[in-house]
C-alpha cells in the first residue's frame, strides 16, 4: 500500500479527464489521473476515433463505386473487413499512446486501476490511498440496455463489439437511430450488409431538426437502408444460427443486431452515494463551474450530463481546471455545442431546432439546397441542404442544421458566429470563398431574409 498526494486527482482519462489534467498542470497544480483501461477513454478507443476510421473506409468504398460515373473504371472492389477493423484499432492505439506521452510531458502521474472515493479528499485505487485537495469525476458513460435484449457480444452487439465484428452480417438490425446507430447503419450498408434501422421515436436522429432528420431518412432509404420510425422491438431471441426479432408484430431473422439506444452516466461503484454527491436523471449534478453538490468534487463530460459529446467534455475539463486553480472561467453555453454525425450523408448542427426556436418568438428560417451549389455539382455530391434559423427581431443566429458532404467540417463556421454573437448582418457581410460547399452556408443566411442569389 502506498500513499500519494495531489492538488487535483482526475478520475477517468477520456477527452474530458486528460484535458482537465493538462490544463490544471499548466496552471501549476500537481495532478494525478486514474484510468482503469486505456487513456483516451471511449472516444478515442471505442467511439469517435475508431468509427471515423471505419467510416472513412465506407466513404472510400462509395467513391470507388461512383468512380465509373466520373470516367474511371476500377472494377468491383473487394472488402477485407479484418483489415479495415485492424486499421481502426491501430489508429486508436496510436492516439492512445499519444495521450500517454502528453501525460508525461505535462508531469501528470497516471495511476492504473479503479478509483473509489472514501471522502471528498481521499480516493482508493486498489490498496493505494491517494489524497487530493480537489477531485474531478470524468468517468464517462456506458451504453444503455433494454430489459428484453441481451447483449452477448457474439450476435447482439453494443457499440464496442460493433466496431470489432468477427464477421460481416448479411442481415443487420440496428436498434436505436441516434448518431451511433446511424453511423453503424452507414458503415455496414457500404460494407454490403442489408441494414434495418429501427427507432422508437417518430424521427431518426431525435436530437436533430426534424426537417434534416427527414432528409436523412429519405437518403438512407434511397440507399437501401430500411428505416422504421415509431417502432420498437418486442423481442430479440438468440437462436443457433442467427437472431429472431419481433418487430411490429412480425417475426424476422437477422444475423446480428446492434443495440444503440443511448448512454447513461458512470456514477455507480465509486462511493459517490456515501459522499452525498447529488445525481439527476442518472448524471451527476454540477454547477456552472462543474462543481458537484460536494465542495471540491467536480464532474465533467458524459457523467455530468447531456449532450454526451467529447468536445463538451474537454471544454468542461478546461473550465473545471481553471475554476479549481482559482480562475473565473466562463461557463459552457450548452446551446452552442455543435453535434456531428458522420453517416452518409453527414449531419451537423448547432443551437436550436426550428421547433425549439419557434416556441421562443418570431423567427426567420433560411434553406439552401446543395443542388444549387456549384462545388457540390462539380464533385458529384449534391444531396443535402443548409438550414439556418434567426431571431427575427435581433438577427441572432439561433440554430444551424446541415446535411450533406463536408458539413461536419463546416459547422464550426456557424459555431464561431454564434460564439461571437454575430447577427445576420455580419454573416451576410462575410465573404465566403468560391467555389466551396461553404457558400451554401452564406446562401442559407441570405435565404432566411429573402435575399438568396443562386436559388
Amino acid at each position: 500500500m502506498k500513499e500519494q498526494s495531489f492538488d487535483l486527482l482526475v478520475i477517468g482519462g477520456g477527452p474530458g479527464g486528460y484535458t482537465a489534467a493538462i490544463r490544471a498542470s499548466q496552471l501549476g497544480l500537481k495532478v494525478g489521473l486514474v484510468e482503469r483501461e486505456q487513456l483516451g477513454g471511449v472516444c478515442l478507443n471505442w467511439g469517435c476515433i475508431p468509427t471515423k476510421s471505419l467510416l472513412h473506409a465506407a466513404d472510400v468504398m462509395r467513391e470507388i463505386e461512383s468512380a465509373s460515373s466520373l470516367g474511371i473504371d476500377v472494377g468491383k472492389p473487394k472488402i477485407d473487413l479484418e483489415k479495415i477493423v485492424g486499421r481502426s484499432r491501430d489508429v486508436a492505439g496510436q492516439l492512445s499512446g499519444g495521450i500517454s506521452h502528453l501525460m508525461k510531458k505535462n508531469k501528470i502521474e497516471v495511476i492504473r486501476g479503479e478509483a473509489t472515493l472514501k471522502d471528498k479528499n481521499t480516493v482508493f485505487v486498489g490498496e493505494d490511498q491517494i489524497s487530493a485537495a480537489s477531485i474531478v469525476l470524468a468517468t464517462g458513460a456506458s451504453p444503455k440496455n433494454l430489459p428484453h435484449v441481451v447483449v452477448d457480444g457474439d450476435r447482439v452487439w453494443d457499440a464496442r463489439s460493433a466496431m470489432t465484428p468477427a464477421f460481416l452480417p448479411g442481415k443487420l438490425l440496428i436498434i436505436g437511430a441516434g448518431a451511433i446507430g446511424v453511423e453503424f447503419a452507414s458503415f455496414y450498408k457500404s460494407m454490403g450488409s442489408e441494414v434495418t434501422l429501427i427507432e422508437m421515436m417518430d424521427q431518426i436522429l431525435p436530437a436533430e431538426d426534424s426537417e434534416v432528420a427527414e432528409k436523412a431518412k429519405e437518403s438512407f432509404s434511397s440507399q437501401g437502408i430500411r428505416v422504421l420510425t415509431g417502432t420498437g422491438i418486442e423481442s430479440l431471441e438468440i437462436k443457433k444460427n442467427g437472431l429472431l426479432a419481433s418487430i411490429a408484430g412480425a417475426e424476422e431473422k437477422f444475423d446480428a443486431a446492434i443495440l444503440s439506444v443511448g448512454v447513461e452516466g458512470n456514477t455507480k461503484g465509486m462511493g459517490l452515494e456515501g459522499l452525498g454527491v447529488e445525481l439527476e436523471g442518472g448524471f451527476v449534478l454540477v454547477d456552472e463551474h462543474q462543481q458537484t453538490s460536494v465542495e471540491g468534487v467536480y464532474a465533467i463530460g458524459d457523467v455530468s450530463g447531456v449532450p454526451c459529446l467529447a468536445h463538451k467534455a474537454s471544454h468542461e475539463g478546461i473550465i473545471c481546471a481553471e475554476a479549481i486553480a482559482g480562475e473565473l472561467p466562463l461557463p459552457i453555453n450548452k446551446n452552442r455545442i455543435p453535434g456531428c454525425t458522420y453517416s452518409y450523408p453527414q449531419i451537423a448542427s448547432v443551437g436550436l431546432t426550428e421547433r425549439e426556436a419557434s416556441g421562443r418568438g418570431s423567427i426567420k428560417v433560411g434553406r439552401f439546397p446543395l443542388l444549387a451549389n456549384g462545388k457540390a455539382v462539380a464533385v458529384n455530391d449534391t444531396e443535402g441542404m443548409i438550414k439556418t434559423i434567426f431571431d427575427e427581431k435581433t438577427g441572432e443566429l439561433l440554430g444551424a442544421h446541415m446535411i450533406g458532404p463536408g458539413v461536419t467540417e463546416m459547422i464550426q463556421g456557424f459555431v464561431v458566429a454564434m460564439s461571437l454573437e454575430t447577427t445576420e448582418a455580419d454573416l451576410m457581410a462575410t465573404v465566403f470563398p468560391h467555389p466551396t460547399l461553404s457558400e451554401a452556408m452564406h446562401e442559407s443566411v441570405l435565404s432566411a431574409f429573402g435575399r438568396t442569389i443562386n436559388f
Binding site: 466562463l330 427581431k393 435581433t394 438577427g395 441572432e396 461571437l420 454573437e421 454575430t422 447577427t423 455580419d426
Partner: protein, 472 residues
C-alpha cells in the same frame, strides 16, 4: 489612403469657424473616437472626435477662420507614408478671408492625390447604411452623415435624416454620442443590436464575455430605462450600473466641457450666494389649478416653470442681473433668455427658454417640457443651447434646501430652486402650516453688489408669493 479631417458644420446658421485647439499634436497618433480638435464658432465650442485611427497631420493652424467643410488636416492610416511638408505650406494656401476658396484647385496644387482618393473614401467608409443622395447632401452641408439617425428601409440613412442632422447641429444620433464616449467598447454585434433596440447605453454595462466583452446576456440583464436617472426619487439612478470603483473615467466630451466651463466661471468672476424663503401657498394652489385645467391638453406646469417665469419677469426690472460683465463695461442685455439645467446620465446640459419673460406660463410649460425631452433624447439643436442670459437650476427633487449654484459664464446670475416643504407661519398668535421653498441666488459681485442682488431676489419672492402677477 489618408482621410480628411473637416471643419464640421454645426447648425444651419454656421458660416465660419476655426480650430481653436488641436488635441492631437501634428504627427501625433489618434484612435477613432478620440478628440482631435476643438471647433470654435461665433456660437459654440465643440470638441470633434477622430473618425479613423492613424497619424494626424495638421493642415491649418489654430485660429484661422475657415468655412464649414474645409479640410483642416488628415489622418494617415498605419503603414501609410506621412509626408513632412503638409503643415506650413498648405495652411497658407487656405486664407481665412477667401470666401470662395475653390478648394479643388487649391488642394490639387498642394495635395492632389489625397483629395481625390480621400473624397471617394468618405463615400465608401464605415458600415453605416446610407443612400448615395444622403451622402451627397451630407457633403454639401458639411455634416458627418454617419451621425444621422437612419429612418429609411432597414435603418438606412436617407436625405431627410441628413437634413435633420444638419438642423440639429450635427449631434443628433445616439450613435455619435456613444462613439464619442466609448470608442473602444468591446461588445458582440448581437449585444450592440439589442442595446440599440432597447436604448441601452453600452457604456453602462459591464461585460462578462471572453476578455470582458459585452455579450447578449449582459445587455438583456441591464436595466432598461436610462432616462429615469433624473427621476425625483433617485432610486432608479442607483440601479443603473455606472462606472465602478477602480475604473478610470476619461475627462472628455461633455464632462470636459462642464469641467472647463465651471472652472472658468469660478476663476473669472466674483461669485457669492444667498438664500431666501418663499411662501408658496398661492403658487401651489395656482399650479394645481392649472395642472387640472390643462390636463386635457397635456400641458403640465412645474414649479420650475413658475420660478423661471418669476426670474425672467424680475430681470426686466433688474437689468444688472441680466448683464454681461467685462472690466471695460457692463452690457445690459435687452432680451431675457433663461437657461434651465437638465441632468442627464452623462452630465449636465442647459437648454435655453428664449424670451422667457414674454411667454405665458402655458407657453413656458410647453417649451420647458420640449427642451427637457429633447435633452434626454439627445436631440437638442444648437439653437436650443445658445444665447442664455440667466439660468435656473433645480435640485429640489433631491430634497435639497440650499446650495450655491455656479454661474453659467458669462452670465451674471443663476437661481437655485430648492425643495418645496411644509413649513410653519405665524398667523396672529397661531402657528399655521404653510408651503415653503428656498431660493438660492448666486450672482457676480463684479456686476452688482449685495443690496441690488437682494432686491432682485425679493422681487422674485414677491412674484411667487402673489403668483397672479406672473399672469399679467
Amino acid at each position: 489612403m489618408p482621410k480628411e479631417i473637416y471643419l464640421v458644420k454645426v447648425g444651419m446658421s454656421m458660416t465660419e469657424g476655426m480650430v481653436s485647439e488641436w488635441f492631437i499634436p501634428d504627427g501625433g497618433t489618434v484612435k477613432k473616437g478620440e478628440l482631435v480638435y476643438s471647433l470654435e464658432t461665433e456660437k459654440v465650442n465643440l470638441d470633434v472626435d477622430a473618425e479613423y485611427d492613424g497619424v494626424v497631420k495638421h493642415l491649418v493652424e489654430v485660429g484661422i477662420t475657415l468655412k464649414p467643410g474645409d479640410v483642416v488636416g488628415y489622418i494617415f492610416e498605419s503603414g501609410e507614408d506621412v509626408p513632412d511638408n503638409l503643415d506650413q505650406a498648405d495652411s497658407q494656401t487656405i486664407p481665412s478671408e477667401q470666401k470662395e476658396p475653390e478648394p479643388v484647385v487649391q488642394s490639387e496644387a498642394s495635395v492632389p492625390e489625397l483629395v481625390r482618393e480621400g473624397a471617394s473614401n468618405i463615400e465608401e467608409s464605415g458600415r453605416v447604411k446610407s443612400s448615395p443622395a444622403a451622402r451627397r447632401l451630407a457633403q454639401e452641408l458639411g455634416v458627418d452623415y454617419r451621425a444621422a439617425r437612419g429612418t429609411g428601409p432597414g435603418g438606412r440613412i436617407v436625405e431627410i435624416d441628413v437634413r435633420a442632422l444638419a438642423d440639429a447641429g450635427g449631434r443628433e444620433s445616439g450613435r455619435t454620442e456613444i462613439s464619442v464616449q466609448q470608442p473602444n467598447l468591446k461588445a458582440s454585434p448581437l449585444a450592440r443590436k439589442i442595446a440599440e433596440e432597447r436604448g441601452i447605453d453600452l457604456a453602462s454595462i459591464k461585460g462578462t464575455g471572453p476578455g470582458g466583452r459585452i455579450v447578449q446576456s449582459d445587455v438583456e440583464q441591464a436595466p432598461l430605462d436610462r432616462n429615469s436617472v433624473s427621476s425625483p426619487t433617485g432610486l432608479t439612478a442607483e440601479l443603473t450600473p455606472g462606472p465602478h470603483p477602480g475604473d478610470t473615467v476619461p475627462v472628455k466630451g461633455m464632462r470636459k466641457t462642464i469641467a472647463t466651463r465651471m472652472h472658468q466661471s469660478l476663476m473669472e468672476s466674483a461669485q457669492l450666494s444667498m438664500d431666501m424663503e418663499v411662501i408658496m401657498n398661492d403658487a401651489v394652489k395656482m399650479r394645481n389649478g392649472l395642472v387640472e385645467e390643462w390636463a386635457s391638453e397635456g400641458v403640465k406646469p412645474t414649479y420650475t416653470d413658475f420660478v423661471i417665469k418669476a426670474c425672467a419677469k424680475a430681470l426686466k426690472s433688474h437689468p444688472m442681473m441680466n448683464s454681461r460683465f467685462s472690466f471695460e463695461e457692463i452690457l445690459l442685455l435687452e432680451e431675457v433668455h433663461v437657461g434651465m439645467a437638465v441632468a442627464l446620465p452623462e452630465g449636465l446640459v442647459v437648454p435655453v427658454v428664449r424670451n422667457a419673460d414674454r411667454l405665458s406660463i402655458k407657453e413656458l410649460a410647453k417649451e420647458t417640457s420640449r427642451l427637457a425631452k429633447a435633452a434626454r433624447e439627445g436631440s437638442l439643436s444648437l439653437d436650443d443651447y445658445a444665447g442664455g442670459t440667466f439660468t435656473v437650476s433645480a435640485l429640489g427633487m433631491y430634497g435639497v434646501d440650499s446650495f450655491t449654484p455656479i454661474i453659467n459664464h458669462p452670465q451674471s446670475g443663476i437661481m437655485g430652486i430648492n425643495r418645496l416643504y411644509d413649513g410653519m407661519e405665524w398667523e396672529d398668535e397661531r402657528i399655521v402650516k404653510s408651503k415653503k421653498m428656498n431660493l438660492s441666488l448666486t450672482w457676480d459681485h463684479r456686476a452688482l453688489d449685495g443690496a441690488p442682488a437682494a432686491e432682485y431676489l425679493v422681487e422674485v419672492k414677491k412674484l411667487l408669493e402673489a403668483p397672479y402677477r406672473l399672469l399679467i
